[in-house]
């Protein structure tokens, strides 16, 4: 398989079937060094199975996977040394302290005793667990357990950290805090691959995302690229303005994809680029009066919903044509 130095995860037609039903279907994916890549999609879309194949914990039915230069099935220990993994339901020895859990993980990873103590203290401090380091993990909240899970991942200083549904079960504040910690890892040169069904939550920290549905990666790219591809415009403007013939004038502005008029004065504009300045200038030039102008960027939820709306419409069209024929 061709991989360059910058590619840390590469798959070619990766497939996994259970009883001949594909749960991951011909996945072609490249994740590059130092980026945060999100595998996003609803439950049952094949995200966890994909991750388990990356780690060699599930065997592909077809295709190839290469992670940090190794085949996880042929060289599992090499992959396990370089890749940290936090499962969706991260487990600990609840009767033991957080520090003892981390020490055990370090021992399994073959880290020397002195280095273990240093890394354990650093990580407990960094992840704000130092005050509870000597408390039993059984007393921890879900958020604390997730942070301890992240500490376990980071303990072996991995090249790649794979986090399966890391914010599930966390309250919004704890989720944002956890995502902030993940984003902070990017600065340390760690490639992060995370999966989530909470699209809106993780979009802020992902450099690129792959949207999964029924085992297929249906879309891949930055949020702006996906927005442009699916919705037609990466930027969504809501403008309130009075004046004559404004809809036609705005439509002529380069970058504007679609203009819809709601009521008398409210315009909804989709654009490929940030056209706020041009729209404001055009309204003034046309003698209109600008009352308000708001821009929102499309969320992944919008993109996902729109994509499947279009896919469903297309399927219905095909079905209708077939019936006519």
């Amino acid at each position: 398989m061709n991989t360059n130095n910058n590619t840390v995860i590469k798959t070619e037609n990766l497939t996994k079937c259970y009883n001949e039903t594909p749960v991951v279907n011909n996945l072609n994916l490249s994740v590059y060094r130092g980026e945060v890549f999100g595998i996003l999609g609803p439950n049952g879309s094949g995200k966890t199975t994909t991750i388990l194949m990356f780690l060699g914990l599930t065997e592909p039915s077809g295709g190839k996977v290469n992670i940090v230069g190794f085949d996880p099935l042929r060289e599992p220990l090499e992959v396990k040394r370089r890749v940290g993994y936090m499962p969706d339901s991260v487990g600990f020895y609840d009767d033991i302290t957080a520090r003892a859990n981390l020490r055990y993980t370090a021992r399994l990873a073959g880290i020397e005793t002195e280095e273990t103590e240093k890394r354990t203290n650093d990580l407990l401090t960094q992840l704000e667990l130092i005050d509870v380091a000597d408390k039993k993990v059984g007393t921890f909240s879900r958020g604390m357990r997730q942070r301890l899970g992240l500490a376990e991942v980071l303990l072996k200083q991995p090249e790649v950290a794979i986090l399966d549904e890391p914010t599930t079960g966390l309250d919004p504040e704890a989720a944002q805090e956890f995502l902030r910690l993940i984003r902070g890892l990017k600065g340390k040169g760690i490639t992060i691959l995370l999966s989530s069904h909470l699209l809106h939550q993780v979009q802020a920290i992902c450099d690129r995302v792959g949207l999964f549905s029924h085992g297929r990666m249906v879309l891949e790219g930055t949020v702006e690229e996906l927005s442009s591809k699916v919705i037609g415009g990466a930027y969504d403007l809501s403008v309130e303005a009075s004046g004559n013939d404004l809809e036609e004038q705005i439509r002529k502005i380069p970058g504007v994809v679609e203009v819809e008029l709601y009521g008398e004065n409210e315009f909804h504009i989709e654009a490929k680029e940030d056209v706020r300045e041009k729209v404001a200038a055009e309204i003034v030039r046309a003698g209109g009066k600008l009352l308000s102008l708001n821009m929102k960027r499309h969320s992944l939820d919008d993109i996902y919903a729109r994509y499947f709306e279009e896919e469903r419409d297309e399927a219905q069209r095909v079905q209708a044509n077939r019936e006519k024929a």
Binding site: Y18, T49, L52, L55, G56, L57, T58, E59, L73, L77, K80, R81, Y85, P87, S89, V90, G91, F92, Y93, D94, D95, I96, A100, R103, Y104, T105, R107, L108, A109, G110, E152
Partner: protein, 268 residues
Amino acid sequence: MASIRPFYLTKYLRVIASTFEMTFRQTVKDAFILFAVLFQPLIIAMLALWMLKDKGGQYIIFVVIGSGMTGLWSSLLFISGNGITVERWMGTLESLVAAPTPIQVVVIGKNLANVLQSLGSMVVSYILVSFIFGYPLSIAQPWLFLISLIITVVSFVCFGIIIASLFILNPDVQRWQNGLEFPVYILCGFLFPIALLPGWTTPLSYLLTPYWAALALHASAQGTGTIANISFAWGVMLGYSILYLFLSKRLFRVILKKARVDATLSMH
């Protein structure tokens, strides 16, 4: 094991030591485990003492060793046998398998902790007999007894790996767990010699490493065995241990392959 490089051997020994410590810290307060390795053998020892109290000192040490062996076997069957399943329930199995250490090494550490902890049953039986019932007890051949005990621990640890892997591979076998406890007490001569059993059961006893452990421990404690027959029992135990390690390597390969194909690693 011969193919393991010194670096890995050191690393694996450290993992075994850490797993031993972790397991011991968890199990030392576990009510079920305390019952299985301390109270149940104690009850068995008391019943046996009442039955055999007129037979003399050599029978009493037989009871102490035998009830200790029941604790060892119960620990092996219920605690070591469930070792991997418990990791799955706790949600730690995925992390263990994702660690760059073979899972068998972890299981050895867990079994070692369980087996050594269950030796406590022998100590408790000894205290009961000596201090509560007031029998004078002595080990006839202490060095042979000590070596027998060490080899017993090794063979039980290795036997535990086979049991754990069989229980994982086939949950139906695990359902026989309760049914396997008492027949092994009897077949292995923990509390009375197998000569009292029908002849057709003897080959079954020979296939079980606890039988050879009981034979070596009873003979060295009572002073009824020669060095030749005790060392033969050691040889059989060590031979079985090598066989168990060899088989377990293959069984774990099958288990992990099955878990990878069926994606059953994290089911809990």
